[in-house]
């Protein structure tokens, strides 16, 4: 069978990661989320901590402070790139994702994999959403924090995730045209939603073979 890739985009607290993991188990393939950072670190020879710091993070403040030129060099001449810039780390991560997709069939969670692998011949892009109230509940349970705190955290995290995606892909995060299947888990519940996703994937894979 030819190699395939499933990219899962997800809202924070939607259960997208759980779906990705269960799907991977069901299909007997690897699921890469945070583990991608290990791959990226290997690819670059850099410490994983660096990638953790800039993981799906593209804050406005960081951008403003991310100065590339010393004050006074109005000529804007810069000959050597900064290998530790966010853009450069993203580049390493994309190489890691590409190499991984070349080697095996697998599932990627987030990290703009849908854009990075846009030329992959057998690539399925899925977006998992859920109602905001459900996601806030999830996050508060998972982190053991109050609903209010969870809501704040969610808003902030979504914002950085959106910025990250929009910046690197030039597309809009969560917009339906980027995906083959978008599903809101809150409508039918987790189990039924998972079955739908699984069936969708199986039908797709039947076409690949």
């Amino acid at each position: 069978m030819e190699k395939f890739v499933i990219n899962i985009g997800r809202q924070l607290g939607s259960g997208g990661k759980r779906i990705a993991e269960q799907l991977a188990q069901e299909l007997g393939i690897n699921c890469y989320d945070k583990r991608l950072l290990d791959l990226a670190a290997q690819e670059s020879g850099f410490a994983k901590e660096l990638f953790e710091h800039s993981d799906e993070n593209k804050g406005l403040l960081d951008n403003i402070m991310h100065m590339r030129f010393l004050f006074g060099t109005t000529s804007g001449e810069s000959f050597c790139s900064n290998v530790l810039s966010e853009e450069s780390l993203f580049q390493f991560q994309s190489e890691a994702i590409r190499k991984c997709a070349e080697k095996e069939s697998c599932i990627f969670v987030g990290r703009c994999a849908d854009y990075i692998l846009r030329d992959h011949p057998h690539c399925l892009n899925i977006f998992i959403a859920a109602d905001e109230s459900d996601r806030i509940k999830h996050v508060s349970e998972r982190k053991g924090i109050s609903l209010k705190e969870a809501e704040k955290l969610l808003k902030k995290a979504e914002n950085t995730r959106r910025n990250y995606y929009n910046f690197y892909t030039g597309k809009t995060w969560g917009a339906s045209e980027s995906y083959d299947l978008c599903i809101n888990i809150s409508r039918l519940g987790y189990d039924k939603s998972f079955d739908i996703v699984l069936n969708f994937v199986k039908e797709f894979l039947a076409g690949v073979q």
Partner: protein, 459 residues
């Protein structure tokens, strides 16, 4: 991305050798940039007069501001292009190129229109007096009519660099320096155009370089080239370009603000000629600072790579080398400024009043120059290892946070000398702050080193 290979040599070859190899092209480029400024000042000072130098000094911050907008689009666009090239997304990269082109034209026209319409009030605000106004106005008028060319020239140079053609970009820079040097005397002396001639030489040199750039960038065989359909403004791209370009923009605007305030303080405490003197000293010291910046740019990839690869001993080693070379450069500046100020000022002007002020100011301004190499190199070091906020803070200490209070509060006590002493004091205070921050950083490095923080590779 041509410049984004991970050269393993960065982690293995001797640090000193690497630093020289990476720094030399950067130093050449920086020297070219500072020469450009010097040549213009020299011809204006010798060919037109002392008041003309002061008039030129008034225009610095305005040019800074214009360059700030240019840097925003140029740096933002170049970074975005290299990201897209790295993703082999050539269509979007092309689109960014077109948008950079369009944005530069629009910004250039808007800035020029505003400046040309409100030239006198703007120049007065920036510190022009009735003596300097004619020169400042004549110079700025020509510069602003050519503003679109200047913006496009810098923008395309940034694009060429990110498209893997840094040598071409450098060639264009050197070319403008040479052409400007040739045309300056021709326009000022032969055609008798005065300060206008200097401005015209600048714009024409850039125009010729721009034509050469556009010829390169319209070659359809190039991966990135200008063609129809890429020029229409796309908001997501513009947003991306501006968000990246915001930091160089803010930095350059700060430079504008500081010079604006200094010029006004100089005007009220020392008169027109002190602005000219400040300009002369700045031009001379700029050479040494630019050398340091070249060294820093050479250090960046080496420090960055080794920090990422957790080779901390190499990180500290390259910093030590950079500080060493930077200190040599700024100490040279110190020696020149303290012992040979007369020799420098004579190059720019033969007017005795101006020479006296400049010769008096130079030794004070460079008082702590031997320390400043360390300050600039360390500031840049923080940036190379990804600590951009610390770096931005340190850069601001010397150029703004410690400088402005001094410039505002010293002159009422010390008169004109207060301005010069404020600069020296800010150098000293910034160096102390930098040393403290580096000390704490090094301590935490040592901890990391001792605990043997290693890569987890259990995939």
């Amino acid at each position: 991305m041509a410049e984004q290979r991970t050269p393993t040599e960065l982690g293995t070859e001797p640090v000193g050798k690497l630093l020289l190899r990476y720094a030399i092209p950067a130093i050449i480029a920086q020297t070219a940039a500072s020469l450009y400024n010097m040549v213009d000042s020299i011809f204006i000072g010798q060919g037109v007069g002392a008041m003309a130098i002061s008039g030129l000094g008034i225009t610095f911050p305005i040019m800074n501001l214009s360059a700030a907008f240019g840097a925003m689009v140029g740096v933002g666009g170049a970074t975005m292009i290299s990201v897209k090239l790295g993703q082999r997304d050539f269509k979007t990269a092309q689109n960014v190129l077109g948008n950079v082109f369009s944005m530069n034209i629009m910004l250039g026209i808007i800035l020029a229109t505003v400046c040309l319409l409100f030239m006198e009030p703007i120049l007065t605000f920036f510190g022009a007096s009735e003596n300097t106004m004619p020169y400042a106005r004549e110079y700025m008028e020509v510069i602003m009519w050519g503003n679109v060319i200047t913006h496009l020239y810098f923008g395309m140079n940034a694009v060429l660099r990110s498209a893997g053609k840094p040598k071409l970009a450098m060639g264009a820079t050197l070319f403008t320096v040479v052409l400007n040097t040739v045309m300056d005397p021709l326009f000022i002396y032969t055609f008798n155009l005065g300060i206008r001639g200097a401005a015209l030489a600048t714009v024409l040199a850039q125009a010729v370089a721009l034509m050469f750039q556009i010829k390169m960038l319209t070659n359809p065989e190039e991966l990135l080239h200008l063609k129809r359909g890429i020029f229409r403004i796309k908001m997501p791209l513009v947003k991306g370009i501006i968000s990246i370009g915001m930091s160089p923009f803010l930095m350059n605007s700060c430079a504008c603000l500081v010079t604006l305030i200094i010029n006004n303080v100089l005007l009220s405490y020392g008169g027109d000629l002190s602005i000219g003197a400040y300009g002369i000293v700045n031009r001379v010291m700029f050479i040494f600072i630019m050398l340091v910046i070249g060294i820093n740019q050479g250090m960046q990839p080496i420090a960055g790579y080794n920090f990422g690869a957790q080779k901390y001993s190499r990180v500290t080693q390259v910093l030590k080398y950079a500080i060493f070379y930077a200190t040599i450069c700024t100490t040279l500046g110190f020696i020149v400024g303290v012992f040979f100020p007369a020799a420098c000022t004579k190059i720019f002007t033969s007017e005795q009043d101006l020479i006296v002020i400049a010769n008096h100011a130079m030794p004070i301004m460079v008082m702590f120059f031997p320390l400043i190499g360390f300050q600039i190199a360390t500031t840049n070091f923080f940036q190379s290892i990804g600590m951009a906020k610390k770096s931005a803070f340190l850069s601001l200490t010397r150029q703004l946070l410690f400088l402005l209070p001094g410039v505002i509060f010293f002159p009422p006590l010390l008169g004109l000398d207060g301005v010069w002493y404020a600069m020296a004091a800010s150098d000293l205070a910034a160096t102390v702050t930098t040393a403290l921050m580096l000390f704490f950083q090094m301590r935490s490095f040592k901890k990391m080193h001792d605990n043997g923080l290693t890569l987890k590779s259990d995939i």
